[in-house]
Symmetry: C2
Subunit: 663 residues, 2 copies
């Protein structure tokens, strides 16, 4: 802050005369003035933008200087003027890690001089004086220059001194070679620098992935037997064939006995009830151990390796709460809150009590830094076992500085590790978790069903600040969310939600059972009946009515079309029917342009006039364009902007069309 | 930036555990993360807002601490929770000056405790343990407390220790007195502070004023005689009677002879041509002198005093350019640019040349700091003569750091001084001049004529960032702008532009001749024919067809209605006719609510159905409301939301109605 300005008017005037003369504003991407790193992906174009301007009419130039944190050398990107004081540079990162960038701008005196000279000459004015002044300007520039370009400029000056004719001087001063030498000299008047902004560059899987969630204990082929990692291995080909690339398990750790929950969240568990895997920890171990019935740590490693062979990576749940039987309660009582009577404080949301779960106390005296380090060790330990993604349970109930620290620590050695925030809370916290470092986030998608809801949500995700801090992972269902829409929609509804998720974002996910259109609910609630959280649920994945074929196709379309590998590049278009959501997704260069039309009504056929976005290609309203149905392979030519569609949800409630400008 | 984090995971964990736990985001008002001061006005409510949140469910509290720069003590304002993590405080400044404010937030452990206790007690749960824990919490609080409240809390603790019954303890812990003592103790867990943000508080005239511009030299009652300050004094009653409170003169300094311009900007002036007052400086003096034909400095002071007696303040033009005859060229050649042949560099915009004007060079070696200080002296000198407002000519062609410095220096001793930026340039620079300290600004208003243009411009001015840095002064015309619309509109058009300016912003202005509907133009140009910039123009201010009566009424309505004393509080409403702009202006408490309907077509009657904004008062669509026509004094009762209007521009092209909820 420039609150108190000591000194005299003289000294303050001198300070002001030395202050940056050029205004650099609205630098993008940035979060809260550079407090947090904005998100970027490897080999995906990031545009760095700024508004740059100064008093008067001199010619400005600008560039971006950037480097990976820890490097000493800066790389440079020229910025291009876009009109109305907007400047832009294209940045294509090639590896993961934290980078910082600075925007620099300066007055290009020589360009300003040439600009004026050209105009005067063209107007037929006498320019003798201007030619002398150009020579003087070059002399100033050579003074400050060094090496090759100093020598080159000196040679040009010599020629100018010897040139007898006005035309010769003019030619020399305007010559491309002279300009090149001047540019090399980097004569940067009124050089102004922005502050440094950070970018977190992650690998592409952080922005483009299809997640499949299952409970390993349900994967046994024998009814009633507890499943194991080996059972999961047997299913890998099937899951990979559907096109998923992340396989995600709820907690795989030993499950507590004390206050264990029975089926349907009942308070009393029978002796054979497996309990909720979120009640982590028993005498068999805590967050670093494996539930014995699932297999050994070696079995887990083998599963991870087998998944890799099928092109999949394994995501684990990182849920910090403990069962009352967790070894930490005994070994580190100082990490927990104890009550006035010496009993442990259970999780609660008064008047509700959760007696099967105990929360750690991040700010207890003994917890700093030991608990924090222990939690870091848990994550690092699983990274060593081959886990490269973590779905973090309820991160919004743990301190934000903890996440900022933990994620930075893990990424220090393993920038490839991806964190998914399972937060369903108010918007500010959702965004802040992204700023703190989470690669991607659960979303409000499950509760956006109507056309205006979906359209405005997709648009919000495409605009700053969310664009720069929040990558949405559209889960169509989770063990905790059996959406009301699916409870009533039948098979068509599952296809509707699948296509919205799979085309709306580069990240989508489903929890097993979705492909079988399972939706049996606890009456009146958004919960699954006989939830797998409390019991085994074996399934016949080939049951009739499944949508495995459609999901497989959707995932293939996603892989083949870069426009569908991000939530960015979304534009809603006109289709005159409130039950049809119609939008485009495009790569920046328009090389891949996909249109998606979704009938949001699972029960009735819907028709609409709609607009083919010919204008996006600079085409007139009566132009033709080739379309290709990516679900059926059919091809045709559209003639003109105004078109008509009819969608029958009992066949397929959507269309995905690739656009090709007609030859 | 937190780019490089030295140390070990342990030390970094400890640092993170000591980092602010609470997120404070989106603090308003602020400009570029606190780099510039946001604008506020004396005795006008400024709302300070922030998004404040934390992990988990504990109760937060927040306040704003603020002080005038230079003070050591902070004042405090409690912030109120507004839902969805939004908090707000109301700040009513009472004097001018630069202030700084900080947002603070903390966990209110005792409120969290009481909140949980109440819920458990209401649910009939046993709370004995909770009562013991409450007593312990109080003990912690008293430990950190001091003075009166420590004593009070100790007394409460004693009562608790002696209380035999559970109900008694409960009553003590929940008692308002206990809460009050705890609040006084300021037990602020996880206290988090925002950075400091600055506010520039100016007097009301910076935001609410009606400007009248005239050339003193035209005010002689005898045709052809050069007018004087005394002539202006004679007109003061008339101008004050119209309701203007700022009287603004183009430059009043000696005018150069060299390359003096003749009538209609001709290159050759006759011996009696007065020249452009913007060619400042002759052997009779420079920026600190008065053009002899206008009178003496004493005459000027007398005029300023007389204006004060009529409730008006005087604004002078601050135009930094010099005529080639300006004394500075001789006395301070180092403040200017000289060419290779030793001649002075004239102003130019190649290939155009302005040989009657020379610009100073702010960055010349000898100009720092002498030229800067000389310019400051000019402004300070006129302040000493009683000038309290400056209209600054073309500030966007002078360095931004110069303005930031100059305005701060002047306001250091004279926070009452108001600066109006006469910039017509790209939007970023327009806003930046406000950030640099200009109190108010010329605008794009003169070129906004259609309903969508006006509506979106008014809305843009009401939203951040412009809301916080840019006060629009809507001039309906200037000596440089004879708007095309007025050239064709006739008298009705002048009324249309007057009402748009006078109701659209707290600041509006007109250049004399407007009240006479003068619009004779240089053909095809937005310039006045026989412009007063180059010649005398005496007028008959009582000429038929004048709109003096309407202007007088408009200014009176503005004074009587606080809703019209700012550009803020604008909301467009539905009137189904593209030629009728229909909007509301309101004070924050809705105590003053004005509706304005303007027929943008000066030639034809227009009709429209329109909506009475009953909903703004929480009224149903069939409610009744009293309306009052502020131009005619007529009163009536509107019944229901849907209404109809007809405007006949030849009578009066607008309506201004005050709303009163019907009794």
């Amino acid at each position: 802050m420039h609150m108190e300005s000591p000194g005299t008017p003289e000294s303050r005037a001198e300070a002001a005369a030395n202050a940056p003369r050029i205004a650099i504003e609205d630098v993008e991407p940035q979060l809260e003035g550079g407090r947090f790193a904005a998100k970027a992906l490897c080999r995906r174009l990031t545009r760095i933008r700024a508004r740059i301007f100064m008093d008067g009419h001199e010619q400005l130039e600008a560039e971006v200087a950037w480097r990976y944190v820890g490097e000493t050398e800066w790389s440079r990107l020229p910025m291009q003027w876009q009109g109305n004081d907007h400047w832009e540079a294209e940045f294509l990162p090639v590896r993961e890690g934290r980078t910082e960038f600075i925007v620099l701008a300066w007055v290009d005196s020589y360009a300003s001089y040439r600009h004026d000279l050209e105009k005067k000459y063209a107007a037929g004015q006498a320019v003798d004086l201007e030619l002398r002044e150009g020579t003087e300007l070059l002399r100033d520039i050579v003074h400050a220059a060094s090496g090759d370009c100093a020598a080159g400029l000196t040679a040009i000056l010599q020629q100018l001194d010897e040139a007898p004719q006005r035309e010769e001087c003019l030619a020399l001063l305007m010559a491309p070679h002279t300009l090149e030498m001047v540019q090399k000299a980097e004569h940067r008047a009124h050089l102004t620098r922005s502050i440094a902004y950070a970018l977190d560059i992650e690998r592409q899987l952080a922005g483009f992935a299809s997640w499949y969630e299952l409970f390993p204990r349900s994967e046994s082929p024998e009814p009633g037997r507890h499943g194991s990692f080996s059972d999961v291995r047997r299913r890998l080909p099937e899951i990979a064939a559907m096109g998923f690339d992340v396989l995600y398990f709820p907690p795989i750790h030993p499950i507590g006995r004390t206050h264990r929950k029975g089926p349907n969240n009942s308070l009393l568990a029978g002796p054979d009830d497996p309990g909720s895997p979120y009640a982590i920890g028993s005498e068999e171990g805590g967050h670093d151990a494996v539930h014995p019935q699932l297999g050994s740590l070696a079995d887990f490693r083998a599963l991870v390796a087998a998944a890799h062979d099928h092109g999949m990576e394994v995501a684990l749940d990182f849920a910090i709460q403990c069962s009352p039987d967790h070894p930490w309660l005994r070994e580190h009582p100082g990490w927990f809150s104890w009550r006035a009577d010496g009993s442990i404080r259970h999780a609660e949301n008064p008047p509700k009590k959760y007696e099967d779960i105990v929360n750690v106390d991040f700010y207890a005296a003994e917890a700093i830094p030991d608990l924090w380090l222990a939690l870091l060790n848990v994550v690092q330990g699983w990274v060593e076992q081959g886990v490269t993604l973590f779905r973090v349970d309820n991160p919004h109930t743990k301190p934000l500085p903890f996440w900022e620290w933990l994620i930075a620590e893990v990424r220090r050695d393993h920038p490839e590790v991806i964190f998914l925030a399972e937060a369903f809370t108010r918007p500010a916290m959702m965004a802040r978790l992204g700023k703190a470092g989470f690669s991607q986030s659960y979303t409000y998608f499950t509760w956006r069903n109507t056309k205006p809801e979906l359209q405005s949500y997709f648009e919000e995700l495409n605009a700053p600040p969310l664009r720069d801090c929040y990558r949405p992972n559209f889960f169509v269902n989770t063990p905790d969310i059996n959406p009301y829409f699916l409870q009533r929609s039948g098979r068509a509804g599952f296809l509707i939600r699948a296509v919205l998720a799979a085309t709306g974002s580069g990240l989508w996910g489903m929890y097993s059972g979705f492909e079988l259109c399972e939706a049996e609910a606890v009456p009146g609630k958004e919960e699954y009946l006989d939830s797998e959280k409390y019991q085994l649920r074996q399934r016949d994945y080939r049951a009739p009515g499944n949508i495995v074929g459609e999901i497989t196709r959707l995932n293939r379309i996603r892989r083949e079309n870069p426009a569908l590998q991000s939530h960015l590049g979304f534009h809603a278009y006109n289709a005159w029917n409130d039950n049809i959501l119609y939008f485009g997704k495009r790569t920046e260069d328009l090389g891949n342009f996909i249109l998606v039309a979704v009938c949001l009504d699972p029960h009735n056929a819907q028709e609409a006039d709609f607009e083919l976005p010919l204008w996006e290609f600079g085409l007139p309203d009566d132009a033709a364009m080739d379309g290709e149905d990516l679900m059926t392979g059919e091809r045709w030519t559209w003639q003109g902007k105004r078109q008509w569609m009819r969608i029958e949800p009992w066949h397929l409630p959507f269309g995905i069309w690739r656009l090709h400008p007609a030859r």
